[in-house]
Amino acid sequence: MTGDHTLVDKIWDLHVVADLGQDQSLLHVDRHLLHDLSGTMALEEVNDKGYTVHSPELAFATPDHAVSSEPGRDDDTGGRSGRYVRGLREGCAKWGIKLFDLNDAAQGIVHVVGPEQGLTLPGTVLVCGDSHTSTHGALGALAWGIGSSEVAHVLATQTLVQTKPRQMRIRYNGSLSAHVVAKDLILYTIGKFGVDAGSGYAIEYAGPIIQALGVDARATLCNMSIELGARAGIIAPDDVTFGYLADKPFAPKGGQWDQALAHWRALPTDPDARFDKELSVNVADIEPQVTWGTSPGQITGISGNLPDPAQAKDVSERQNIKAALDYIGLAPGQALEGVPIDRVFIGSCTNGRLSDLRLAAEIVKGRKVANRVTAWVVPGSAPVKKAAEAEGLDKVFTEAGFHWREPGCSMCVAANGERVEPGARCVSTSNRNFVGRQGPEARTHLANPAMAAAAAVAGCITDVRKLAS
């Protein structure tokens, strides 16, 4: 096929309900995912304002943000979640929205549930009141996060008023070193280009390295597009995508599958398509990454040292580095390797999938969590948890001294008291190391699951390559 359309162009064009002028389009939303914070609030707003939910068949909900991950949990465990979980349940029941309820076999983090249930499909427009909605781009969906006013707008109209984003393509070339995974690719990309490099863009990730990634790894990559400033990140659907979707519960079946497949195969960017911006990354340079500061762009390879504000290029940069070092409690120029830690969190919409848990378990097997460390594994969903248990991963973790918990956002968003203590230091597989993100005065270092596992057993930030056989 010849043409000059990008993947995003094609999806966009298929979803325009009306041209509103002034560069704005009314876009149809195919999949609307709701969770227990913005979803609950928007359902309440729809109620308060007397709107009707337009297309409940296209909305799907699960509680994840506010819920406890404590084994044996209920709606109120942790003390904060009850109002949100019940609000979501009531709203879904009122309108007939499919809910994967707390402790259902399919409940989990909304960005794990969507792909895993086959709700996230190539060529769809998918939105959710959460900035990590970019995750769903892993399957070739045009997916982005929205605020709760827009969630209410989608509920009431099944559309969004949108201006088409500019388009960027990032190509990954070269060959990956051992123990360098998708999390390192995206963290490195953020460090290299900056946390606002993607502002105003939808990003297509491309190149042989991306095509070789499995869906879980693609999800990790697309997930952190927002940490690059982009609302949407997307990867062309291919046989990896289709193989993943073939047996998913809500994916099309039979004749509809064949019809969908023909549609999906025509979606990838045409050879002559032009992007507003093209970047490339040579992955051969990348080693396992760890953040040192309070922004995901404040990152170094594990063998690197912290920056010295005295060597910053300008005053603003100097202040930035100094503030981050003060908060994180580390000295200018110091090595990151060997810094003692208190907590490890393995989970989240970034790294809470089965392949993530396998990577971590491989390092943990036959070892013990260091005395000073409290380490948690929070599977991204109930199916992830079940599959991990079937492989015995839960035993690997618990025998090493990890806590094995119930699915949810947990310590990534720290919404329900599941947090890092003030001043304590955590190696986390989540996506944000912001000031206070994991709790007031909590110090977060973002890393891949194997690096987090290595830190748990070493008791300090360490190079997983030294532990791996």
Partner: protein, 208 residues
């Protein structure tokens, strides 16, 4: 939503880079506080000391800037989480307009939905405005005019700005976007009717 046409007020500089929505309003506060009280908790990690007292060194706590309604901010203001409560908190603190070299995309969108004007300007322009605001501490005569797209500093300097036409119209009119979109109800129904035939796998999905 409240209209935005013209605003004459104090401007406060907060020239930190990459201010994220978590620091604008924490998850604890957004979950436990009613919307009307979120303003008090905006920037809490910076605004208050560990003992709960105000931090006198925080930019927005300084005399002359406490009643500011215009925020002049560093690059990538409002990055991170989609939490709309960040906008509610800023609004609750009194802000109606933000000027920065760039904003988090979702945050900027949330601003428009809540009648707050987010203006992007080149970094040197923002730095000049921050300098002017610093010098004019307490002077309430910064003017933002959305009808003419002009910012006027207390010294009378004028700076033109651009904003997406659709956003501008929405802010000027203070329209309810849902009500406006529902006027396209027939087009939405027609789209879905066509689409059900073209992409039947999108609709009515259930597990066998």
């Amino acid at each position: 939503m409240e209209k935005f046409t013209q605003l004459t007020a104090t401007a406060a500089p907060l020239m930190r880079q990459n201010v994220d929505t978590d620091v604008i309003i924490s998850i604890d506060n957004l979950m436990s506080q009613p919307r009307a009280k979120l303003g008090y908790f905006a920037f809490a990690p910076w605004r208050f000391l560990a003992d709960g007292e105000e931090n006198p060194e925080f930019e927005l706590n300084r005399p002359g800037f406490r009643d500011a309604q215009i925020l002049i901010a560093g690059r990538n203001f409002g990055c991170g989480s989609s939490r709309e409560m960040a906008v509610w908190a800023l609004s609750g603190m009194g802000f109606r307009c933000m000027i920065a070299p760039g904003f988090g995309d979702i945050f900027a969108n949330n601003c428009t939905k809540n009648g707050l004007l987010a203006i992007s300007l080149p970094e040197n322009r923002v730095n000049d405005l921050a300098h002017a605001a610093e010098q004019a501490a307490g002077d309430t005569s910064f003017t933002i005019d959305l009808e003419t797209n002009i910012i006027t500093s207390p010294k009378g300097d004028t700076i033109p700005f651009e904003i997406a036409a659709g956003d501008r119209d929405a802010l000027l009119a203070g329209l309810d976007e849902i009500g406006k979109t529902l006027q396209h109800g027939n087009a939405i129904a027609a789209f879905q009717a066509r689409d059900r035939l073209a992409r039947p796998w999108i609709y009515g999905v259930t597990v066998a």
